[in-house]
Symmetry: C2
Subunit: 237 residues, 2 copies
Amino acid sequence: MSHFPFQRLQADLAALISKTRAGDRLPSEPDLAKQLGVSRATLREAMRTFETQGLIHRRQGAGTFVVGQVPVMDAGLEMLESLDTMADRLGLEVSVSDLHVDGIPADKDHAAALAVPPSSKVTRVRRVMRADGRPVAYLVDCLPEEVLKPSQLPASFKGSVLDFLIDRGDRLTVSRAAISAIDATAEVAKPLEIQRGDVLLQFTSQLYNSAGKVIDYSSSYFIPGYFHFHVNRRVGG
Amino acid sequence: MSHFPFQRLQADLAALISKTRAGDRLPSEPDLAKQLGVSRATLREAMRTFETQGLIHRRQGAGTFVVGQVPVMDAGLEMLESLDTMADRLGLEVSVSDLHVDGIPADKDHAAALAVPPSSKVTRVRRVMRADGRPVAYLVDCLPEEVLKPSQLPASFKGSVLDFLIDRGDRLTVSRAAISAIDATAEVAKPLEIQRGDVLLQFTSQLYNSAGKVIDYSSSYFIPGYFHFHVNRRVGG
DNA sequence: CAGTGGTCTAGACCACACG
DNA sequence: GTGTGGTCTAGACCACTGA
């Protein structure tokens, strides 16, 4: 028996997953832990890696399922386009769920990013993007109320704030996105159906109009494995 | 007593950390777990969040220390520059440690990225970048042997492959970087002095010369909190 | 309802740092 | 050696799913 349970366990799990048909359920965690000769805690730690890669999906009360080939969205970062538009361009099917639109008072973060007074009203739009029925991104947009009131969004709103603004005729120029990697908090883990502590790619963006004013402050959380973002960087001046 | 130990624990830990002077040691994990009324496993789970944010640093055998204000490297992604150059521009002190240069046979990944035959020789350069003495990034460059032999690197090599190539007169044009978020594997966790499973921002880059040939394939791993990468995205065509 | 994954506990052993 | 963080175990209770 190896003295490094975790490494061996990773290999054993990889073998098990690869020989399980997509969509099928793995044995329950207690059973699997017994089979592989480790405790359930260790097993779960190892499973987190495979969930991050999008190879398995765990559903409380239901089980752990092997996930089939994932549709990957590959996009450059030079251009800003909505995930909807991106999916269209790539010929992928995406859907939106858990759409919530509300008005909230600006907190310090909003006030600084949007250049509005603290406690002024901002419109918040939250939703989950799904590909193949599985959550792949969680998006939160915040806009000053004078740019967008919750009531202005039509019943037919399909989830893309960017596309809505463009269609409405707003003159948008550029978006500045900060890129980071984070642990999922409980708030974003729940809609994305992942675990708190799972790894996410985060974009925090400010969208400018032609007057140079920030009209949208958004946080986007992407589950790794479903997206391939890339950027071309020039060398020298 | 709250029914949500984790949330309360996060708040308690945050309070403890904020009132501890930078550089001081926190109580040991068993002591702290007892103080806060949770098990050590739960405590460690919560601590991971603060370590990701760079607020604390855990050293096996020594203790957990509160980290002072971190020097942040803020950089756009439109231009490719070495971390050395970036640090200079920002007036920050960085150092290189754990420099390893070796020649290895190309694996499938190298062969595909560098467009060289499998098992042909590639030169690999690995090193850790430190700011304020703390590891902040782990960098691995792989170059075909005909571009760079291990013996060609001078003893004075200070860690930047990009700067070396530029100084040598290589005509470089553009770098294509793929951006991802990953769990730290054991291999990168060790040099970065973090835990396996901690979150990292990863850039995987191909550097092109003016002939359109890939001459460097690199993987860069960044600890979140020390870097603010951003990109400006144009709207529309 | 039984069974699943999500969380927490108490305790153990190890490798490592430091005096 | 002593004490630290790193890891693993065995068991418990909970929330949720689905028949």
